[in-house]
Symmetry: C2
Subunit: 355 residues, 2 copies
């Protein structure tokens, strides 16, 4: 099974190998990144996206930069690391995983004040690799726990991209689908194109198709027709943040799908790592929702497709109330409603937002 | 109030003046059409669209062509008219209104076998003008009957374009909004962009904005968020065909909106001329649903935004069951559920499909 790797070490660690997602689906271009500058550019330009993948890529670039400058005098070395951290953080200021991964490496540097630069660099390399490996394991664990949801012949609807391209491994919402496919189960995945940025058509349809899983693309508003025609057995989506009561913030369009799934009695599951659980935010009402630029909708395909000055309401995410969710699939098992005890039990201290 | 006219006579009938809708919203270009060839090209290229507007435009072009050739010998004159009819019909074979309007003119020609060519041409000009005027009156009647639905301060959600650009007058679903605005009522209209062809963002947002009605554009999947935030008082859409039991075929996305409206307890109304009522089709299950070309989704607006060979499910329309519809607004009054008696009473013999 060919699952794309968004980011990985190349040449035994001498470079970072990144799939340029801005070229998808037209071309599959892999970049060889050998500096934090180049990685910051790649993050800014969305060549790598999806919060876990961004966190991993930044950690790898930070470690790489440490190795490159290990021969500097200690003060200069630490200054260099601080500048690298600031550069990478500024590349995508709202990506919580980016800060989380860089903080983790920064704490490691702080704990190694007596070690030579070379040892620090080596340990950073190990830590960045650990972040990648942990993410891979997390994806696989979500997939294993979710396998029971996708028996042979399941027809799944998904939205946006919660797949391999967003993580270090086989994705979150897509992980059970990859594992079911790997075990020979027949699947059919309907993919919402996901306006305005079309992550469904550009990314999800591409990565599932590449793995040999049958895919049908639909516009977001055709999902209701599929459900009415009883062609969907399961809706499975990712999550950006999950509140203490189980309310889920995810890509705009998720809430409408949850309402439609309830109306058509289709199970609606959310897949996310435990790091997405946030027991400190009581309900979805407390989750801030970023608004996107109006021109992502007015000029979505390069040319003007709406009056140039028309007002636009463009929330990046929406909130699906826990009452509409059949279950939350995590790397530590499946939570069932009511979610409040499960979320409290599994909440980790490192909030991890999948953008 | 500035409501655009999709098609009208120019120079006292010496030309047809057409708004080129393919240039919207970037430019407002009006074409001066003086031959059936030019009109057939305009219909083929979607410079004029919306079934009523297409029917009117074709009728005007047919009448125009008759006047241009009135000096021919009778046999040649009739041959010329037959060729013109075939040319215009072939420009958009599935547009029912096109056939309906041309049949009406053809019957008139048949009834005037003793009249000189000049008289035939003159009567055809009058009949084409009558088709335009009847459509204008129909739009206004829908608007008048719908005024009670839009009191001062109403926040309306609409989908696709059932406006002036699709008709000879002030539209169907948009007619009550234009009349309410004309009477000084405050309105706010939220417009779904309406993938794949973006009639909402390209056409509806443009024509309402031009008339001075406040508009906010949203992606189709953000409509649910507006309803959850209680920002929508009324959903008002057009119809392509209405079955005997009140099931409504309309642009894909309408059905999902109806489910969302029911869930959020928002009234959901359909506006259409009586010619759209079809008492001879018992339920929506009997309405054929055209599938659109996959590349309208894979290559929306020029560039490839999905894997080039991915399967696509692209119904042009969907069917909203009567049970989800609060009322059907026609030019002869508002029908309330159950619709079966009202549809039977108001069904006309000329099916009139607003595409």
């Amino acid at each position: 099974m060919q699952v794309p790797e968004a980011v990985r070490w190349a040449d035994g660690g001498d470079a970072i190998d990144l799939l340029d997602q801005t070229e998808l689906p037209e071309a599959e271009t892999r970049l060889r990144i050998t500096s934090a500058d180049a990685m910051a550019e790649a993050i800014r330009a969305l060549r790598v996206r999806g919060a876990p993948a961004i966190g991993i890529a930044a950690a790898m670039a930070f470690a790489f930069e440490a190795a490159r400058h290990a021969r500097l005098e200690r003060g200069e070395f630490l200054e260099r690391l601080a500048a690298t951290r600031a550069l990478l953080l500024a590349a995508r200021p709202t990506a919580v995983n980016l800060a989380w991964a860089l903080d983790r490496l920064d704490r490691l540097v702080g704990s190694l004040s007596d070690a030579p630069n070379g040892v620090v660099a080596c340990k950073l390399w190990g830590e960045a690799t650990a972040i990648l490996e942990e993410d891979r394991a997390m994806c696989r664990a979500i997939g294993e726990h979710g396998l029971a949801l996708v028996p042979d012949g399941t027809r799944v609807l998904t939205h946006c991209n919660a797949g391999a391209l967003a993580t270090g491994g086989i994705g979150t919402a897509l992980a059970p689908l990859y594992l079911a496919h790997e075990r020979g189960r027949a699947l059919h995945v309907f993919v919402d194109e996901t306006r305005p940025l079309l992550q469904g058509s550009r990314l999800t349809a591409w990565e599932l198709g590449r793995a040999g899983i049958p895919v049908t693309l639909v516009t977001d508003s055709a999902a209701a027709v599929l459900m009415a025609q009883r062609r969907i057995d399961l809706v499975l989506v990712g999550a950006d943040r999950i509140a203490a009561n189980g309310d889920v913030a995810n890509k705009v369009g998720t809430y409408g799908l949850a309402v439609l799934a309830r109306y058509h009695q289709v199970p609606f599951y959310v897949a996310a790592p435990c790091s997405t659980l946030d027991a400190f935010t009581p309900t979805g009402a407390g989750i801030p929702i970023e608004e996107r630029a109006a021109d992502e909708i007015r000029r979505g395909f390069g040319r003007l497709t709406a009056p140039a000055d028309v007002a636009v309401f463009a929330p990046a995410f929406d909130v699906t109330p826990a009452a509409l969710i059949s279950g939350i699939l995590t790397d530590r098992g499946v939570l069932e409603p009511p979610f409040v005890d499960g979320v409290a039990r599994l909440t980790t201290t490192a909030p991890d937002v999948v953008a």
